[in-house]
């Protein structure tokens, strides 16, 4: 088993307290970063090949660089802790079991982007993570780690709870919600780094992404980059659920294969049953078949199979799963969570759900599958945010890869 980096504290008792976190070497990264020029921190992060771990996989250091040079406006660091991608539950572990890793990461990032104020937008349903993280913030303030004493003009953290909308995990939807508005994604340009929260330059980073910063600063970019593949450094937390023997959060280098995650890390399929399908990166990722799992689980591996690593939420399905049923559940989710702002997404998520529901109820028509595929493809890439493209992932892949199962259901009107 490789060295644990992000999850090293997950099983350490009381690691959520400042004392235990420090005993394990906590805040050493921040101590070092304090002595570094902001540009040097950004450079180090670029060299580390750290990619955003919330879903989009964008190089973190590059994103920071989008803040207009020489901008004298306040700059905000916003932490996306809205973890809502179905099948994903890794940020929760950090918030609950290692909250100071996020605070330390925020301090480092804030220094790099010259931010004096950070917002942590926590998913509304995450009550315990919110409690634990808020307590850690208070501890950090009490210890002088946060507040006016932070070198470079101080740094404060505001913890904000969401109200239960998936779309508020989309970075500009999150910003709208944080601003007190309906959680609607914003038209781009302008991008958040130029004009984000409250009209000021804003960097939105995922919890896990920021938690990678202390080890990067402490142990160096080359070490971190060396843990992963050519295009992505480090390890990451894979949320594995479904029909595996040992579901849960698994940390592994991003070069790990999907097969290894299922069969080595998670003990294989329950009862030794055959694998039928697996979603590699949260519900928005295209589904993979058993012959597509010999891929590295970095940003490039799933992409080579037409899917995406996304939030690394892996949903494993054995042969008991009805794919039409699974698609209907996913379609219901996207119909329910579409914010309703852009026409293609608002209208077709509901329409596609109705069609999948009808198919599952045994009232499918032979033209339904082609209609779903056509509607999905016509809407893809036409919307303000990536939500609809995320919905299109399952719509198309479930049907194209399991078409015979859908057709059999439509023909017979009943599940096999």
């Amino acid at each position: 088993m490789a060295e644990l980096i992000l999850s090293r504290n997950f099983s350490v008792p009381d690691a959520h307290t400042l004392r235990v976190y420090r005993e394990g070497g906590g805040y050493k990264g921040w101590d070092k970063a304090k002595g570094m020029e902001p540009a040097a921190i950004t450079e180090e992060v670029k060299k580390s090949n750290l990619r955003g771990l919330g879903g989009a996989g964008f190089p973190t250091g590059v994103k920071w660089g989008f803040i207009p040079k020489g901008s004298t406006a306040p700059k905000y660091l916003v932490v996306n802790a809205d973890e809502g991608e179905p099948g994903t539950f890794k940020d929760r572990y950090i918030l609950e079991r290692d909250p100071h890793a996020l605070i330390e990461g925020m301090l480092i990032a804030a220094r790099a982007i010259d931010s004096r104020l950070g917002f942590v937008y926590i998913r509304g349903e995450y009550v315990q993570p919110w409690r634990v993280f808020s307590a850690a913030v208070k501890e950090a303030y009490d210890a002088g780690l946060l507040g006016a004493g932070v070198p470079g003009g101080g740094f404060d953290i505001v913890v904000h709870r969401g109200a239960g909308a998936y779309i508020c995990g989309e970075e500009t939807g999150l910003i709208s919600s944080l601003e007190g508005k309906k959680g609607w994604p914003k038209v781009k340009p302008p991008f958040p780094a130029v004009k984000g929260a409250f009209g000021h330059p804003t960097i939105v980073n995922n919890v896990e992404t920021l938690a990678c910063l202390p080890p990067i600063v402490t142990r160096g970019a080359e070490w971190f980059a060396g843990l992963g593949t050519k295009t992505q450094g480090g390890t990451r937390l894979y949320s594995v659920s479904g029909h595996v023997v040992k579901p849960g959060v698994v940390e592994a280098p991003v070069s790990v294969t999907l097969r290894s995650l299922i069969y080595d890390h998670c003990g294989g399929i329950r009862g030794g049953r055959p694998l039928k399908a697996v979603v590699p990166g949260g519900s928005s990722a295209a589904i993979l078949t058993p012959d597509e799992i010999d891929i590295a689980m970095d940003v490039d591996g799933p992409k080579s199979k037409g899917s995406m690593i996304g939030s690394a939420g892996i949903v494993v399905m054995d042969d008991t799963v009805s794919i039409p049923d699974a698609l209907m559940v996913v379609a219901r989710f996207y119909a329910h969570e579409s914010c309703g702002q852009c026409t293609p997404c608002r209208e077709s998520t509901g329409w596609i759900y109705k069609m999948t529901h009808r198919i599952v109820e045994g009232k499918g028509r032979k033209e339904d599958l082609d209609t779903i595929l056509d509607v999905a493809k016509r809407g893809a890439g036409t919307t303000i945010c990536a939500f609809y493209d995320g919905a299109v992932g399952p719509y198309i892949s479930y049907i194209e890869k399991f078409r015979e199962e859908f057709e059999a259901l439509i023909r017979s009107g009943a599940h096999a």
Binding site: V187, G340, R346, G350, T371
Partner: protein, 538 residues
């Protein structure tokens, strides 16, 4: 000033121009719903997609600024196909109730479906149901099923009036426009949301079910509701008299003017047209014989008036002109009064309730032509009395003939006792105006005026902009423009001479005479006023 190419045509546009406007400048129409030039960019409808060279996917034109060297296609096969898809998405949950929808005929779903849709519908499942016929305020009614959620109305209330009554509630295809709790859409500009609603979601409680829009005629006009002079269109129903409850004016819509009113008008202006087709309209001259008002001919009325006038010396005549009258009327009246030597004349009658200027369009002065009346010189002549003085002189029986134009003195800001003393004191009261009122009821002679909507003319707004209004319909009955009446009177009194203002056959001739005589209007002609008007010279 970027230079770009749209559909092969090279154009230069100002910095910051988006591709919808740039395409328009190049003669290409990019269909859109949520974009409105007076509101912020929403980017929601996704209909305005265009192809841009070197950009992999079609982009929304509303949020893309023209850039140097950009090559844009608005009619590529991919763009057309994308539009077709967007039209299908807009319509899958639409009730398609055009036969009973007031918007039919001016609905952008209909227009764009015919231009850019024409697909075979595939949606066979139950549509989403939402509230219907929900009154949002005194003027606006919502059908949420017809709504395409373009958010124009929401942005209007947020950005233009700043009242923020409307929001979009719920999510996904259950999203719907609605009022925030405890509010109603009753701001002073609420009717504008009906105009900017591209579909039949927001319709006019006043207009709805009255007449089909394709039966309407339209005329360019200027609102007479206050000193702003908002540009309007008057929509009339002239050919199907069984519709619109027999009324001719069906509705008033704003007409864009960049400097006066942009795209907007206030509700007071929009709905303030009832008097034009009201039963109180004066349709024929009337004389009082033995205490009874009887209709008569213009010949007889003018002869009667001339006869009365010649009974009195000029200083025994008091004239209350009105800033509701056009520049042409006021100038002809001025010439007539000057020829008669009448010095007791004024136009400024205080309102009973003083108005207030607001930050958008509404002016405290509820008259469209106060500036014009000032410039035409209808204030007291040298040694003449003002309006209050005229009333008091009538009460004191020094003024024997009181000629009231358009005012209802009993509803004015003058004290009731002062007005009744004046009306009781004057030997002869002549009323000239559009509608009967308690003042006209006291008149020995009543002369009917054509409403502004029934004739040509100009108003000068508070900023000094001279703007034309055009006839939307013929004058009611025997009513005629006031300048015509003044000319007839002048001829009868032998005072017309060669004065163009009193011998003219057309309104533009009277206006030209005004422009020739009053330096503020110097050089103006109807032709040069055009649709945007001209500013008086300082």
């Amino acid at each position: 000033m970027p230079k770009l190419t749209v559909n092969g045509k090279e154009i230069t546009v100002p910095d910051g121009t988006n591709l919808i406007e740039a395409a328009k400048a190049a003669g290409a129409e990019v269909p859109h719903y949520c974009y409105h030039p007076g509101l912020s960019i929403a980017g929601q409808c996704r209909l305005c997609m265009v192809d841009i060279d070197k950009v992999p996917r079609p982009q929304i034109a509303c949020n893309t600024q023209a850039a140097e060297g950009m090559v844009v296609q608005t009619e590529s096969e991919r763009v057309k196909d994308t539009r077709r898809s967007m039209m299908e998405f807009h319509l899958i949950n639409h009730p398609l109730d055009c036969p009973v929808c007031d918007q039919a005929g001016e609905c952008w779903l209909q227009i764009y479906y015919m231009k850019h849709g024409l697909y075979d519908p595939r949606m066979t499942d139950e549509k989403v149901h939402k509230p219907k016929a929900v009154p949002l305020g005194p003027h606006v009614i919502l059908d949420a099923e017809r709504c395409i959620l373009c958010s124009r109305c929401v942005r209007f209330c947020d950005e233009i009036t700043g009242t923020g009554e409307l929001g979009i509630f719920h999510r996904g295809d259950h999203s719907e426009i609605g009022l925030f709790p405890g509010t109603a859409l009753e701001n002073a500009y609420s009717g504008n949301v009906i105009d900017i609603c591209p579909v039949g979601a927001l319709t006019d409680r006043d207009f709805r079910f009255q007449v089909r829009v394709w039966y309407l005629d339209t005329a360019k006009s200027v609102c007479n509701g206050c000193a702003r002079g908002c540009n309007i269109e008057i929509h009339t129903n002239k050919h199907r008299t069984h519709h619109n409850q027999g009324k001719r004016v069906a509705r008033i819509k704003p007409r864009f003017h960049a400097e006066v009113n942009k795209w907007w008008i206030c509700d007071a202006g929009r709905y303030g047209f009832r008097w034009i087709d009201d039963e109180s309209r004066l349709a024929a001259p009337g004389v009082t014989v033995d205490g009874q008002s009887v209709e008569t001919t213009w010949d007889d009325a003018v002869a009667t008036f001339a006869g009365r006038m010649s009974r009195y010396r000029p200083e025994e005549i008091g004239v209350l002109a009105s800033p509701q009258m056009s520049n042409e009327d006021l100038w002809a009246l001025r010439r007539l009064l000057d020829s008669l030597g009448v010095m007791h004349r004024d136009f400024a009658v205080p309102p009973r309730e003083p108005g207030e200027d607001d930050k958008l369009l509404i002016r405290a002065d509820k008259n469209p032509n106060t500036r014009g009346a000032q410039l035409a010189g209808l204030g007291p002549a040298a040694g003449g009395l003002d309006a209050g003085g005229i009333l008091d002189a009538a009460a004191a029986k020094k003024i024997k003939l009181l000629w009231v134009l358009h005012h209802d003195l009993t509803a004015s800001g003058f004290a009731a006792s002062r007005v009744s003393a004046a009306l009781a004191g004057a030997e002869t009261i002549v009323f000239q105006g559009t509608n009967a009122n308690p003042t006209s009821a006291r008149a020995a002679l009543v002369l009917p005026s054509a409403a502004y909507a029934e004739r040509d003319g100009t108003f000068t707004n508070f900023e000094g902009r001279v703007q034309r209004f055009r006839p939307a319909m013929a004058p009611l009955g025997e009513a005629q423009p006031d300048w015509v009446t003044f000319g007839l009177l002048a001829a009868r009194l032998g005072k017309a001479g060669t004065d163009v203002a009193l011998t003219a056959q057309r309104a533009d001739e009277v206006f030209a005479a005004l422009a020739a005589a009053v330096p503020a209007f110097s050089g103006m002609l109807y032709r040069t006023l055009g649709d945007t008007g001209q500013m008086v010279s300082a």
